[in-house]
Symmetry: C2
Subunit: 331 residues, 2 copies
């Protein structure tokens, strides 16, 4: 089931338009305006389903964290400041301990980002399903979108890529010793899956500076493709430039394997963005304001005549064949 | 599983406070404020789970309508004007026809109320689960809440009560002929369950006029109890005054049975509210502005010393024993 096709089909006929909707379906979030308000509203929603988005035995605290984190990441990709959350929780059983842990994981991250939980709906149902809707505010007219990348832009990412996919693989196949990495490195990778760090500060620092942005949830290359499509450009990623963590390199035991994981793995919740030429020299300054390392990993080109926009990866100038079989997302 | 207990337990530890949250968890919706904005924001969210909130074979168009209607009803109970919706849809299979029907049902009601669908998340999962988050706007400081009912107030409802519970019972036991009502009456009751009419116009007309309001989703008496608790008052409903439709009376074949269904059935999505004494004579005028009949069904009293606030029903002055066994909500 292709999420994008589904949404397109299902929502295409729902074309009620309002003058106060500045940006509707199709980006990381929507943007609306209230009369008289100094800021724009940015609204995002994301669902996690047990057995689809996370292994059924994932700790409750990690789920509480994650349910908010994936939404914070969307808010970050729009350059907004998060404010209010609503939580819809469908539970097979009401286990007080599970609930306490879930609430604890959610609350810790909410506190960190000054997010107030203002409403929700708790229902019973056969499958654990968590939907968070998060509303943030952004300075008028500097909201970040997937559109706007232009030929000549540098493609950059925050943090390191591929760790979460490796962490998920480790969680699904206990016995990290088999892979030849030590427990500390395995733990770190697992934490990168279980407790993703949404780049909220970075998103706000990038707003008004960069041309286009998206958060990396479905995999670096796939999300780069979405940004390229929205901006009607080509994106070329240079695999040898990808920021891979020491733990990921230790786990794969091989740099080119690590690059494959980084390109096709998911759940990183880092930001991918494009920088106009006048800022190519200012990456270090930008990274300081973002409070996270930034790495230049590719470039934006014009779409070739007659071709569709999109993203591809090269290594030392040669097109890269992607082996995604070994590192498919849990979905 | 008691929803209220669950929410209380799970959310109690999540006490991030923000100065811009005017009303948090515990009412039909939350109220927040943006700097400079002329209006308040009202935010609600409701989840429908297959086999819990509706029979699995419910038509897709009815589900699209219903998913939005239950949220519109919450917005109505707050006296707000709906504006923007987000839809989180978890589907076992991607059936294009089902999706088209669902979208059609949603879009028709959205168009009626000028609601723009601005975002969403579609995921695959074993259980059909629909969460809608709806954001509306309300004039500052006249938002309706469950608090504020005072001794001397009249308790009123919009429309007729109990139809949806009868309609659900008919849908679950086909063969309406057995019950002695004709197909037209049975159809009408089933439509009252499948296509509830949220009282959005009424909610806005009541805002600034009435003391407290709630929408009737879980059953008249139960929801009156919630309003009484939030307002720290006693509510007494007079069963003989309840507005029962001719179809409901035909289905039960008996007025007192119809009153039982009206008191304990759910899914009505009418509004229950309390009117201060100076407006007791203005119910007809109010009903005109609400574009729906309004019936006075009870009164608000002070809580007796040493007792807890709550709602009860009487018939001709005598306490009513409720037989809920036959008309339990699908939940």
């Amino acid at each position: 089931m292709d999420e994008f096709d589904l949404i397109t089909r299902c929502f295409a006929s729902m074309d009620v338009r309002r003058h106060d909707v500045h940006l509707g379906i199709g980006d990381d979030g929507a943007v609306t305006r209230m009369a008289g308000a100094a800021a724009d509203l940015v609204l995002v929603t994301d669902t996690l389903v047990a057995g689809v988005h996370f292994p059924p035995d994932t700790p409750a605290a990690a789920l509480g964290h994650r349910a908010l984190a994936v939404n914070l990441s969307d808010i970050a990709a729009m350059g907004a400041a998060p404010a209010w959350a609503l939580l819809a929780l469908t539970l097979p059983t009401a286990d007080p301990r599970w609930l306490d842990d879930f609430a604890g994981g959610f609350a810790a991250l909410a506190g960190e980002h000054d997010v107030a939980l203002i409403g929700g709906d708790t229902t019973s149902g056969p499958t654990l399903t968590i939907t968070v809707t998060l509303i943030g505010q952004a300075q008028r007219d500097i909201v970040l979108t997937r559109q706007g990348a232009a030929p000549g832009d540098a493609v950059c990412v925050t943090g390191t890529i591929g760790d979460a996919a490796a962490g998920l693989a480790l969680l699904q196949k206990p016995g990290a010793a088999d892979t030849g990495i030590d427990r500390a490195a395995a733990d770190w990778l697992e934490q990168r899956f279980l407790y993703p760090t949404p780049r909220v500060t970075a998103g706000q620092a990038l707003a008004g500076q960069v041309r286009a942005a998206i958060d990396i949830s479905d995999g670096l290359l796939g999300d780069a493709h979405k940004l390229a499509t929205a901006s009607h450009v080509d994106i070329t990623l240079e695999a040898s430039a990808l920021p891979c963590s020491p733990a990921l390199l230790a786990w794969t035991g091989d740099r080119t394997q690590a690059e494959q994981v980084a390109l096709s793995g998911g759940d990183d919740y880092e930001l991918l963005f494009t920088l106009p030429e006048q800022l190519h020299g200012a990456i270090d300054t930008l990274a300081q304001r973002c409070a996270v390392p930034i790495t230049r990993i590719g470039r934006v080109c014009a779409v070739r005549a007659g071709a569709a926009p999109g993203a591809s990866a090269v290594r030392d100038g040669r097109p890269l064949a992607l082996d995604t079989a070994g590192y498919r997302h849990f979905r």
